[in-house]
């Protein structure tokens, strides 16, 4: 019964994309609740943890860096270690790389400005959030620090293990070299965790999920996650 699938949206001080994350999770059939960063445990039977966009802790030090000391983090790590689904969007992706749950780092956009615009994405790694997605998705980005970096060995591992979840591309699905922000190999999203159960991506699927948004490609990710959970592929 899909209505029982519980999703927890972690709210850090400075999170600002939690409302649309909650809304979209509910549209996809999740029982979505928010969790305060000072809590030390997730709600019972949480199946998916979402780290929303925003400027957690004001982006002081580095984007996402201070979350390392957040009281809720051990519970999120444990959930991921059990194979539970974790989705980090935008600042959530930055947090996942800062706390070491995903490899690589996100740095200042190549053109040094905040960028809010529509991009094309193509799924390039099979996993719980990308199964059954079309070849291209139109999604918005809104970030100043979305330039993905990783060292050579890490990139080789990501490519080799099919962990590059999404790349920026053109309307025909041809991957772009750097994307809108200068990302290495046009990487927009990365899988991690023991069973590709952790996904971080810079674009905002939760902001392109309804007729009102002018498109609903983003909801497909959440639908895919729901299908995964229903089939019991995740822990």
């Amino acid at each position: 019964m899909s209505a029982a699938m519980r999703a927890a949206v972690v709210v850090f001080p400075g999170s600002n994309a939690d409302q649309e994350m909650l809304r979209t999770l509910r549209l996809a059939g999740f029982d979505a609740v928010s969790v305060w960063h000072k809590d030390s445990s997730l709600p019972a039977s949480t199946e998916l943890v979402a780290l929303p966009g925003g400027f957690s802790y004001g982006d002081y030090l580095r984007c996402g860096a201070i979350c390392r000391a957040s009281p809720i983090l051990p519970a999120v790590r444990a959930h991921a270690a059990r194979g539970g689904l974790v989705l980090g969007v935008c600042n959530g992706f930055q947090i996942l790389t800062e706390v070491g749950m995903l490899p690589g780092a996100l740095t200042r956009n190549a053109h040094l400005r905040f960028e809010c615009s529509d991009v094309w994405l193509t799924p390039t790694g099979e996993g719980p959030f990308t199964r059954g997605l079309p070849k291209t998705l139109a999604l918005p980005i809104a970030h100043a620090e979305g330039r993905y970096h990783a060292d050579h060995d890490t990139l080789a591992r990501l490519e080799g293990e099919g962990l590059v979840a999404f790349r920026y591309c053109d309307a025909d699905g041809v991957p772009s070299e750097h994307g809108p922000n200068g990302s290495v190999r046009g990487i927009a999203g990365v899988y991690g965790g023991p069973s590709k159960n952790v996904l971080g991506l810079m674009p905002h699927p939760e902001r392109r999920s309804e007729v009102l948004h002018g498109g609903a490609d983003g909801k497909l990710l959440f639908d895919a996650a729901m299908r995964t959970l229903e089939r019991g592929l995740a822990a």
Binding site: E20, K38, G58
Partner: protein, 775 residues
């Protein structure tokens, strides 16, 4: 009362005539101060009078004219006088909104000036208890080739984005205009709108004798001291840097403050709340006491601070950002403190409400909480002022007025004296590629216009932005769809202040109705030059009259606003720029009408006068002459009201596939934009009956007469649209048909304009390149 009169604080300067002058208090205002007090003020009290009686806080030159604006109506929940205005949006909810200028600080320090402008207007809205859901920014810069324009544009846009993106309120629109008349005085007007339950609006009232006054948020530093007085000052090209008077913003702190405040409001533990904006602790506390008709007592020793050795004068006048003043209900202080702790905010009880009508401030000489030194002195009274006189005895001026003596010669300018335009395709592409007419995408993409996931129409794609606003009461959420737009064409106000003022209101409302939204209310930001200049005063007074007439004709009230005067450099005023932002409401997402053509084979029609041909004051004329000149268009308010009723009924009847207002650049630019504002919109082939002479054609194509809308309708629904137009008495002219990838305009069978949509898009998109470069 056995209270002794306030005494000078150690280190206070003597109040010499020069000190009075530095505080911009005129000799006659000085007399009033002395009469009200019956004694010399202390230095701190002088500072208080200086800011409270500044133009910025007291509206002393504009108040007599502002009273003529219509501010009431069936939808008005809260008119001017509070932190923001509010209009009813149904089901017991209201939209709370205001626009405010941050012009002077933004010129001195563009990033921080613009950022704190956004922070300030957001506080005005959430202070009322409303969750902010949208921001607009109306910007004016100097001419594109002015050496400071690139730096100012970059800084202001980055500052707006830096604040709005971080706090997480979408910036969904606004305008950007360049004109040499803003070379020395840019305009940064920020608008915010929030939503709340109408019976849970919070007011800035310090009521209930004995209630605690609580300070929440950022600690007090020395930033922004005398910002309010600076805002009432002219610039000089050779003037000294005023950088220390610019505040520094921290959007993360404000995000915490916003969430904490909304949580405190929901707990129902407050009597009143007021943000500390211009003139900081002084203005907020005096206003709170004034609205409640009481007094209060503040102990400055208790004020959280981040700078050492602050004097009472500095604490009272600091404009440190992200601070709120709250009055708790009896016995509820603990709850306020608890919620602030949850959000890691500094909080302190710093005084209490009194009933004696006095504003009394104490401080201990030598005491500094940041210092370990033991202080043996006792607290002393540093201010003891009558609240009523501080606000009510503020000076009011009905300043002399005189018409602009340059106008007759400028009205007489004949566009036919210019070389005849021959290649109209080239004229179109050139005009649509100018910074004023072209795309502002370089700006908009730096704003997070989609945060919170409610944006249905963002910046740059239409006449108004549309945002879904979730309205919550006791856990039940009802979604509302609100539309936002801003306008403020200073060219027409300069050439005819009355009609120009009316045209701005008309355009704001037109932008809303063509989007499918019913206009609910307007907020204004009146940016003008030095009011001591009779020509400026005439512009201000007549523009207000024109705005008032248009508001009445269209049935839309002005519910909040602000006035920014002294926008002069070396005696030369800016273009008179009353910026107005309108809030409208859609019934359903299907009411939203795009500006761009929606598909192939639709009929393109013009609603309004098909023969309008007035080039006076147009962008085309400015582009050609470099000047704001010519006899400006007239506005028939009755025809405007009928057109707007028609547009709204077409939208609600789902009869319009697209509607776009004819504005900057005139009819030809409007047609081109219908194909270019959104990707994948089709071109069109239209036929106009134009005069044979080149100047006559230019006037028809580039004239900016108001009260015109380009619409597209399905062929099968043309008859119904015609009938609707006939009922409202609005002229309807079939212009042509949508389709293809070109815009072709014929007259008498010959193509006079033939351009590809791709060329239009390319020229539009490169419009800001001369200022900010490519990429």
């Amino acid at each position: 009362m056995s209270r002794s009169a306030p005494l000078p604080f150690p280190g206070d300067p003597e109040l010499s005539p020069a000190v009075w002058r530095q505080h911009k208090i005129t000799p006659s205002e000085q007399e009033t101060v002395l009469r009200v007090l019956g004694r010399e003020p202390t230095f701190a009290e002088l500072g208080v009078f200086s800011v409270m009686w500044s133009e910025h806080c007291s509206y002393k030159s504009s108040r007599v004219h502002l009273s003529r604006l219509p501010t009431t109506g069936p939808k008005v929940v809260q008119g001017p006088g509070e932190n923001a205005g509010a209009v009813d949006i149904g089901d017991g909810f209201c939209a709370v909104f205001k626009m405010e200028s941050h012009n002077h600080p933004s010129f001195i320090e563009p990033y921080q000036g613009a950022a704190t402008g956004v922070g300030g207007i957001l506080r005005d809205v959430f202070t009322m208890g409303a969750r902010p859901i949208a921001l607009l920014d109306s910007l004016r810069f100097g001419r594109p080739e002015h050496p400071r324009t690139p730096e100012l544009l970059r800084g202001v846009v980055a500052g707006i984005g830096g604040y709005g993106n971080c706090i997480g309120v979408p910036t969904v629109g606004g305008e950007v205009v360049f004109d040499a008349r803003y070379d020395g005085n840019i305009l940064v007007n920020a608008f915010a709108c929030g939503v709340c339950a109408s019976d849970r609006i919070f007011y800035g009232r310090a009521s209930g004798v004995g209630n605690s006054i609580i300070y929440v948020g950022a600690r007090t530093g020395r930033d922004g001291i005398h910002g309010a007085t600076m805002a009432s000052d002219e610039f000089s090209a050779s003037g000294p840097s005023q950088r220390p008077t610019v505040q520094v913003g921290d959007p993360f702190m404000e995000k915490l403050l916003l969430e904490a405040c909304l949580e405190i409001f929901a707990a129902d533990v407050l009597e009143g709340v007021q943000d500390m904006g211009a003139a900081g602790l002084t203005s907020s506390s005096v206003e709170m006491a004034s609205r409640a008709g009481g007094g209060l007592r503040l102990d400055l020793d208790l004020v959280p601070r981040r700078a050492k050795k602050l004097t009472p004068y500095e604490i009272l006048l600091s404009e440190s950002q992200e601070r709120m003043l709250m009055v708790a209900k009896p016995g509820k202080e603990a709850k306020v403190l608890e919620i602030c702790k949850k959000w890691d905010l500094d909080v302190a009880v710093i005084g209490e409400v009194t009933g004696d009508g006095r504003w009394v401030v104490t401080a201990t000489p030598g005491f500094d909480p940041l210092d370990d030194e033991q202080v043996t002195t006792s607290p002393v009274i540093v201010c003891d002022l009558p609240v009523a006189e501080l606000t009510d005895s503020a000076p009011r001026y009905d300043r002399p007025r005189a018409p602009d003596p340059t106008l007759p010669a400028r009205h007489a300018f004949d566009p036919a004296s210019l070389p005849a335009p021959t290649d109209l395709s080239r004229e179109l592409l050139e005009l649509i590629g100018t910074p004023n007419v072209g795309s502002k995408r370089w700006v908009h993409r730096q704003y997070d216009s989609i945060v919170r996931g409610g944006t249905a129409a963002g910046p740059g794609v239409g006449d108004a932005a549309v945002v879904r606003a979730p309205c919550e009461r006791d856990g039940v959420v009802i979604d509302k769809l609100l539309a936002f737009t801003s306008d403020g064409n200073g060219r027409f106000v300069e050439l005819d202040p009355y009609t120009g003022g009316a045209m701005i209101i008309a355009e704001v409302c037109r932008n809303l109705v063509v989007t499918g939204a019913e206009p609910l209310g307007i907020t204004d930001c009146l940016n003008f030059g030095n009011p001591e200049n009779p020509v400026v005063m005439e512009q201000l007074a007549r523009a207000i009259d024109g705005m008032a007439a248009a508001c009445r004709a269209l049935g839309v009230p002005i519910v909040s606003g602000n006035v920014s005067l002294y926008n002069d450099t070396d005696g030369r005023p800016i273009l008179p720029t009353p910026t107005c932002a309108g809030v409208g409401q859609l019934g359903a997402i299907e009411d939203l009408v795009p500006s761009t053509f929606a598909g192939e084979g639709d009929v393109v029609v013009l609603l309004g006068d098909a023969n309008a041909a007035c080039l006076g004051g147009s962008e085309w004329l400015r582009h050609r002459t470099g000047d704001t000149t010519g006899d400006p268009p007239k506005l028939d308010l009755d025809a405007e009201a009928r057109l707007q009723r028609l547009c709204l009924s077409l939208a609600r009847g789902r009869l319009a596939r697209s509607m776009h207002d004819v504005a900057d650049g005139g009819l030809l630019v409007a047609l081109a934009e219908c194909s270019a504002l959104r990707p994948d919109a089709p071109g069109a082939r239209v036929s106009l009956e134009l005069p044979a002479d080149a100047h006559g054609r230019a006037a028809r194509l580039f004239g900016e007469d108001p009260t015109r809308v380009v619409a597209s309708v399905r062929p099968g629904e043309l008859a119904a649209v015609r009938e609707a137009a006939r009922v409202e008495g609005v002229p309807l002219t079939v212009l042509g048909e949508t389709g293809g990838a070109r815009l072709v305009v014929t007259s008498g069978g010959a193509a006079i304009v033939d351009v590809t949509v791709a060329a239009i898009v390319e020229h539009r998109e490169r419009a800001l390149e001369p200022i900010v470069g490519a990429g």
